[in-house]
């Protein structure tokens, strides 16, 4: 049984989706419990895989028993296993959280929401585990199609936003496909390790075909991860989506694409082929532009969701910039930031949803005295805010530490300055929110005599939304304090991949 662990967390959501479709036609209330059960099961399986990988090294699972390079392999090393665990955690917490919003907004057809949700999880989990480039395309499209539908279930504007996302996203995925085609054209294989092997032994990296392939792959992935200037679809799509969809996709979709980018950089091309090329010179500047743009736009937003989407754009800039500094340290930093940022984005979306549910808060200006009304949620929110600014001992501080270290190590000072400016911008954004949340917009009229009258306003979010918020905020702090095991796992994996060891 355990030898099939790598596929359990892939297939459990998949089968659960089918079961829910059928069971839901009979009884609608079964959707939520089945979804949560399936995701819990896959979380266990993902953790088991992570432990196995941590002890024994990469796990190879051949789908259907066909071996590479003809069969499709799941090659799960520490990076994939960590991503798988991350995905299941995000999905499980979002699923738990989704009970209230889905029932109130979609209601009757909620049993159709969860299958899409679970299929999306299947898609992204598969992306993180597959070692076949074309299979990756298929799974990208699986997750993308479900995401178009998940987004379109929201407010009225979401349909149009989803349509634009569909156009741009499919464009990006097709460019990716084209890139894979160029790679196939030159090497004749689709398996990632085999690609690396063939390209290295035949010294194909300098050929125009392979270089153009890299360009196509990267542009396609940048479109999908919303790297500036291809980010246009992101703000609208995530602003109008239903809150569980935004909470599910915000942390995952873009970060999984960053994972794919890193995977291609280290496993398929290899750091040696990339370093000292035009890429490492110019892409960090693109990333810097993204960081600055995202931070400035976030500063100017009033509407909470939209502000978070621009923060996502800026954070993607951090990751892309670090990754394309192309040193082992920088890729470690970028990957740790993937995990850290996914958790922070999830926490933001969950807290914002909690605030919306009870007090119909959509914009910053609605947040007066929110600390009195929803103290527990705001504690969670404050922790996330501090993490985004980079206050120790949260995970945001640790990722800033590593990102700045990577910048100093590579000597790329503009990148470091951009990071610091973005931290500062985040501080301005969130302390402005704190000011409104604690003080209210209008100045207080002198000293208040009692504190007890504020208790009337206390109206916390329902438990199903509150618990995930707290769990995530706690994990942000824990990930920060206990970051060593993760960092070690990540950096050992990256060194062993880049060490020239030709893996099967």
């Amino acid at each position: 049984m355990l030898q099939h662990a790598p596929v359990i967390h892939l297939l459990a959501p998949f089968y659960a989706a089918i079961i829910i479709c059928i069971a839901g036609m009979w009884r609608k209330e079964t959707a939520y419990p089945i979804a949560v059960t399936a995701l819990s099961l896959s979380l266990l399986s993902a953790v088991a895989t992570l432990i196995k990988v941590g002890i024994a090294g990469p796990v190879i699972y051949a789908m259907g028993g066909w071996s590479a390079p003809f069969g499709i392999h799941f090659h799960i090393d520490a990076l994939s296993a960590l991503m798988a665990v991350l995905i299941q955690v995000v999905a499980l917490l979002t699923a738990i959280h989704s009970r209230h919003p889905i029932h109130s907004s979609i209601g009757e057809k909620s049993y159709l929401y969860y299958p899409l949700f679970l299929l999306f999880v299947t898609g992204v989990t598969g992306i993180c585990q597959t070692a076949d480039a074309f299979n990756l395309y298929v799974l990208i499209e699986v997750s993308a199609l479900t995401s178009y539908a998940l987004i379109a279930m929201g407010e009225k504007r979401s349909v149009h936003a989803s349509f634009n996302y569909l156009l741009v996203g499919s464009l990006g995925a097709t460019l990716y496909l084209l890139g894979v085609g160029y790679l196939y054209l030159k090497t004749g294989t689709l398996n990632m390790q085999d690609l690396n092997f063939i390209m290295t032994t035949r010294e194909l990296f300098s050929t125009p075909t392979i270089q153009v392939a890299l360009i196509l792959l990267m542009v396609g992935l940048w479109i999908k991860m919303a790297q500036f200037p291809f980010h246009g679809w992101l703000p609208n799509a995530y602003t109008w989506a239903p809150s569980p969809s935004a909470a599910l996709m915000g942390p995952l979709m873009t970060k999984v694409m960053v994972y794919v980018m890193i995977r291609f950089m280290i496993s398929v091309y290899g750091l040696d082929a990339i370093v000292d090329s035009m890429w490492t010179t110019w892409v960090p500047y693109l990333a810097i532009a993204g960081i600055v743009y995202g931070s400035l736009m976030a500063l100017s937003q009033h509407y909470l969701r939209r502000m978070v989407t621009y923060i996502i754009v800026a954070e993607i800039g951090y990751m892309v910039g670090a990754a394309w500094l192309a040193t082992e340290l920088s890729i470690t930093a970028a990957f740790y930031h993937v995990i850290s940022d996914a958790l922070m984005t999830l926490a933001l979306f969950l807290c914002i949803a909690a605030m919306r549910v009870r007090h119909d808060i959509r914009s910053i200006h609605d947040m007066e005295n929110i600390f009195k009304k929803m103290p527990i949620t705001m504690v969670a929110f404050s922790i996330v805010a501090l993490s985004l600014v980079g206050i120790p001992p949260t995970s945001g501080f640790i990722s800033k530490w590593y990102l700045i270290s990577a910048g100093i190590d590579a000597g790329h000072w503009p990148y470091i300055i951009a990071l610091l400016l973005a931290s500062f911008a985040n501080a301005v954004i969130f302390f402005r929110i704190f000011e409104i949340g604690v003080f209210g917009k209008k100045p207080a009229e002198g000293h208040h005599h009692e504190e007890s009258h504020d208790k009337k306003y206390l109206s916390e979010a329902p438990f199903s939304m509150l618990i995930p918020c707290l769990v995530i905020s706690a994990s942000i702090i824990l990930l920060g304090i206990f970051n060593q095991p993760f960092i070690e796992m990540i950096s050992t994996t990256i060194s062993s991949i880049s060490g020239g060891e030709v893996l099967q």
Binding site: H160, F163, G181, G188, H302, R306
Partner: protein, 221 residues
């Protein structure tokens, strides 16, 4: 190379590039949502055509289902050795990885055709049951048939297989896109982009980027 060779020998590339550009142009500049989707479809079709064009060879035919009808005994001896060598090189990396289900696949690399590799694979996602010549070898490890077939005679089936998947994906995307367009029409009463944007602008006070619409919390149909 001179212009004529450039155009003719790379014809498939030219076609797909032009189609791609047409598709992207349609997505960006057309107002009507359906035309945008058509542009996307054209773009995807271009990529599919490109892949399929990679697969064809001069005088190549499709791989028949029962290849042992075509076995030419005289090729057996020399090709055997050549194939063994190649497979050893190609699988150098894979030697560590022997599972219980290890199949013997033979790979012949032909360097003349832009390093096309001849691989006959059962693609899991596709579920295609087309048995390649080598496929039969799975069940008969003693008499590999691969060495008796000349790869140059047959079109590469792998890109075809991949593109069947891609076509399915494209159709699904088209379906989602069209249903979204239908929804958009129901909400805004138009499928022209400029009219939709106007409707959005009218509904919210400050234009596109700020406040949500008042009816945002309404039940979805």
């Amino acid at each position: 190379m001179d212009l004529q060779t450039l155009l003719v020998s790379k014809l498939n590339y030219w076609i797909f590039v032009i189609l791609m550009i047409v598709g992207i142009w349609a997505i960006m500049s057309k107002n009507n949502l359906i035309k945008k989707i058509m542009g996307l479809a054209i773009f995807q079709a271009a990529v599919i055509l490109f892949y399929v064009s990679l697969a064809s060879k001069e005088h190549g035919t499709d791989i028949p289902i029962y290849p042992h009808d075509l076995i030419h005994p005289e090729h057996h001896g020399e090709v055997d050795h050549h194939v063994e060598e190649d497979s050893a090189k190609a699988h150098g990396a894979y030697e560590k990885h022997e599972t219980a289900h290890h199949e013997e696949e033979h790979v012949k690399h032909s360097d003349d055709h832009d390093a096309h590799a001849e691989k006959d694979a059962h693609h899991d996602t596709h579920g295609d049951h087309q048995e390649a010549a080598h496929g039969v070898a799975h069940h008969d490890a003693h008499a590999p048939i691969a060495d008796s077939i000349n790869a140059d005679d047959f079109n590469n089936p792998l890109p075809h297989v991949l593109m069947l998947t891609a076509i399915v994906v494209g159709v699904a995307t088209l379906g989602v896109g069209l249903s979204l367009i239908q929804r958009v029409y129901r909400i805004y009463g138009s499928i022209e982009e400029n009219e939709i944007l106007e409707a959005i602008q009218n509904a919210s006070d400050d234009g596109l980027t700020l406040q949500p619409e008042e009816e945002a919390a309404a039940q979805q149909e």
